[in-house]
């Protein structure tokens, strides 16, 4: 990890850690159901206990997403969402709150805009960095250069299937935190959190990562409590997307509040 760049995501996770708890990271796609609603929902998450916010760019071919997020992003694109609007969402949330705002995106929209140009505009909007579900460090040379130039976090994913060599390489390539995929699968709510998650986190810590956050299938306060016991942060996506779909911005705020109740580590 490059030392001279101050990571906004790391700072947010460390603030939570100083309070004796894991960080809560909430995901919503930009432009669903509208750009303004995304800003309002992001602010609602921040005011109800989210430490970091992940704003997704709706994309035509989201291979890591399950039906709920697919339906939301497909609808956003059909209603005319443009990629550049993601910077408005990031700027809108960072102007009103002090949470770290990351953008989660499949790689082609970034490549199409130009990696440098995308990074410049994200930094200008106050964004913390990018989470890249289909970009592995092996293909990321352009992104290394641009993220260093603009001081952005590089959040790569690790999975239960990652070998020790790949874990070490990915940890070294990441800045901010490492995103541990809890199970082999796509996004979506699940009954229980896979037992493989704890192992991935332990292995990623052992590979040198200071901060490891867990996502995929985390949907309620019990899941959050379970993961917060061993991870530095807990990522919730599909459940929040379902909340905004069914109950709008208020429901997002309420769910975030419920989820954040699971964060505090119980005293040993």
């Amino acid at each position: 990890m490059t030392e001279q760049i101050t990571s906004k995501s790391a700072a947010a996770i460390d603030r939570a850690k100083a309070e004796g708890r894991a960080a809560l990271i909430g995901y919503l796609p930009a432009g669903y159901p509208s750009v303004q609603a995304s800003i309002d929902a992001g602010i609602a998450m921040a005011r109800n206990g989210a430490d970091l916010i992940e704003i997704g760019i709706p994309y035509s071919d989201p291979v890591m997403d399950g039906p709920v997020i697919q339906a939301a992003t497909t609808e956003a694109i059909a209603s005319g969402f443009r990629v550049a609007s993601v910077f408005d969402v990031v700027a809108g949330i960072t102007a009103a709150t002090d949470v770290a705002v990351l953008v989660m995106t499949y790689w082609n929209p970034v490549m199409r805009m130009g990696v440098d140009e995308f990074s410049r505009r994200l930094a200008e909007a106050g964004g913390a960095g990018l989470i890249t579900p289909d970009l592995i460090p092996d293909e990321a040379s352009e992104w290394f250069a641009a993220s260093d130039k603009y001081g952005l976090d590089r959040v790569f994913l690790v999975a239960p299937s990652s070998t020790p060599e790949r874990l070490a390489m990915t940890v070294k390539a990441s800045r901010g935190f490492v995103y541990a995929v809890s199970i082999m699968g796509v996004t979506g709510t699940r009954q229980s959190v896979s037992s493989s998650a704890e192992k991935v986190v332990a292995n990623t810590h052992a590979a040198g990562a200071e901060r490891v956050c867990v996502g995929l299938g985390v949907s309620n306060a019990d899941h959050v409590r379970e993961i917060a016991a061993y991870a530095d942060g807990v990522i919730v996506g599909t459940a929040l997307v379902a909340a905004i779909r069914d109950g709008g911005v208020d429901a997002v705020g309420q769910l975030t509040k419920n989820l954040s109740a699971g964060l505090t580590r119980e005293e040993a």
């Binding site: 994309y59 035509s60 071919d61 989201p62 291979v63 890591m64 399950g66 697919q70 497909t74 694109i77 443009r82 990629v83 790689w107 082609n108 929209p109 970034v110 490549m111 199409r112 805009m113 579900p133 289909d134 970009l135 592995i136 460090p137 092996d138 293909e139 990321a140 040379s141 352009e142 790569f156 994913l157 690790v158 999975a159 239960p160 299937s161 990652s162 070998t163 790949r166 990915t170 995929v181 082999m184 699968g185 796509v186």
Partner: protein, 459 residues
Amino acid sequence: MVDAPAANSEENAADAFLQGGVSLRNAPGPYFGRYGGRWMPESLIAALDEVQHTFEKAKADPEFLAQLNDLNKNYSGRPSLLTEAKRFSEHAGGARIFLKREDLNHTGSHKINNVLGQALLAKRMGKTRVIAETGAGQHGVASATAAALLGLECVVYMGAEDCRRQALNVARMQLLGATVVPVTNGSQTLKDAINDALRDWVSNVENTHYLLGTAAGAHPFPAMVRFFHEVIGVEARAQILEQTGKLPDAVCACIGGGSNAIGIFHSFLDDASVKIYGFEAGGDGVDTGRHAAAITLGRPGVLHGARSYLMQDEDGQTIESHSISAGLDYPSVGPEHSYLADIGRVTYEPITDTEAMDAFRLLCRTEGILPAIESSHALAGAIKVGQRLTEGKADPSEVTIIVNLSGRGDKDVETAAAWFDMLDEEGNVKGTTLSTRKPKGPAERAAEAGAADVKEDQN
């Protein structure tokens, strides 16, 4: 980590090739110039590594190669014929056109070459389940076939729109024991079927191999799928030398993802005298926006794991492709084709639906061969190439052209009947509804049998 070499290195590659110093054959991947790679979720990298290692070991293993050759010969019916199309040739400026008859393979297309290879690899990896995507249904049928032969469970993802267009192939897959999952996301065609297959793979990778059907996707698929199809070009090159005593002037193939094309091109890549042409689906015409001509009008991007030419909008969203041919209806193309296009070794041109269907009818009527609509794009291209290459030639028959006839057209009869106005308002073939006798299907037979039973009871 290999970064994109600058454009001038591609010119150097082309120069070096023309000077005879560099072979374009056997490109191992992951990169083909600045194309290819692995733009994939980390969750799948271990599986891709496993496929790659298994493939590399297998292709150096005489036992594996013997097993594959045996299946090619005694199951698929290889070598496929090289048939001279004498009457068809008259329409191509008099150039001698030879058809590489992949339509005669078991299951009716080139697709069987790749699925047998990959299904054997799946067994070697200890996988019990294969999944596949399919557009026209040819790859799905081939996958279901290989799975039945080798005792693997098979699930095929197929766009709901393609299921409708190719209902007969859905039934074929089901008869072969496969489960067909209609995909209703996005454009409901091939690219969305690949998305769902990838989602399945990431969830079931422990026991499942993704039997990708074209020379695209993440490394090692482009190089591996090409390897299994190279037999097409190896045979064609030997056959044309035997039949004409010389190399052909041109080789033509259709391009969707580009597996049949790279399979036949590969043997000729280092023969500098052989011109090579790939024909993309031009749909309604490339100026209409309704086409699938990724190389002609796309720009480099990443989709399904590879960097390649891609039909995309200003935001990098994939544009829906359009073609009368379900098998070419794909908005990107295999990365090796993008490289061969950039260095100028292969010329890629669009063929419209109309041109393809004219060639389809022409081959039916001049040669008694009903081609797949995909392959008809290559036939239409060969007519143009033949006319060009014979221009000003005293003896046009000195020009020889090989066309990869990648599949047979039985699956396309309904599409063709509609195109050529052979259907009535109800969608029945005109002149087939005049019978005054009662239909005799299984339902009617059952009803009659039931009626007979009642009578017997009364007696």
